[in-house]
Symmetry: C2
Subunit: 153 residues, 2 copies
């Protein structure tokens, strides 16, 4: 069995992924600033497409539950999210995006998706790239913009 050693070229490959991600991050920062949302607020909002309890949101975003209170406070004060007491268990606050929140979410997603990777490759190249990356990523799943917005995990 061969020992796995990273060649010069492998290193370059990693650097390319980092460079692309870096571009996305910069773009995402611009988008979030445009909507006056911090990374944590944007990540929370993006996750609330399907309603969640605060506990579920915390698990989802890998935040300690204590942080969710303040994040949701802000989103609620801005009229983007509503806390609804779960009738089945009155300890639980179910978080639902308001109409205004939905509108912001649509615009925010649109802004995010203008990441320029899209523009520098042709259709065929994008299809090839998609295939290669899918294989490279393996079984890693459920990763999206919200994951990008957290520095540590």
């Amino acid at each position: 069995m061969k020992v796995k050693v990273a060649s010069e070229k492998d290193v370059r490959l990693v650097e390319l992924v980092i460079a692309l991600f870096d571009e996305f991050r910069e773009h995402a920062n611009t988008c979030m600033a445009a909507f006056d949302l911090s990374a944590a607020h944007a990540a929370a909002l993006l996750r609330l497409d399907t309603p969640l309890s605060q506990r579920e949101l915390a698990d989802c975003l890998k935040y300690d539950a204590s942080n969710i209170t303040g994040i949701v406070d802000t989103l609620e004060q801005r009229g983007l999210v509503e806390r609804q007491v779960d009738p089945a268990d009155r300890r639980v606050r179910r978080l639902v995006v308001t109409d205004e929140g939905s509108r912001v979410l649509v615009h925010l997603r649109k802004c995010f998706e203008e990441a320029s990777l899209v523009s520098r490759l042709g259709d065929d190249e994008r299809a090839q790239l998609r295939a290669l990356l899918t294989k490279a990523v393996g079984d890693r799943t459920n990763t999206s913009w919200a994951e990008m917005l957290r520095g540590r995990r």
Copy 2:
């Protein structure tokens, strides 16, 4: 001229890059923990392959200069880096990696480069991926591990 709209598939492409980066980040965190280095310390060390003044290091890492003092203090206390007064301008501290620092740097780089992207693709596939990513990245340059370790820019 066509309006640029991100398709479902383009979104997926972005998500794949995020997923890969996320894997690198997790791997990098493991490496840094193994060497008991914070992201800032690791990033600084990685940049000091070529000696720099503290000011240059700050610019390089996009830190305010005031932060460099503490970071270098730690690296110096651990015997990884030395502050040398520049004889030509006694205000300047030139930072040079010690022998011990070089050894750590070699091991740290080796650890970083074991990122598993390397293992899931064949040689041909990696070459294709490299070509596509190079085109997608465009003229973005000088991006590497140190850039990954900073959340914001």
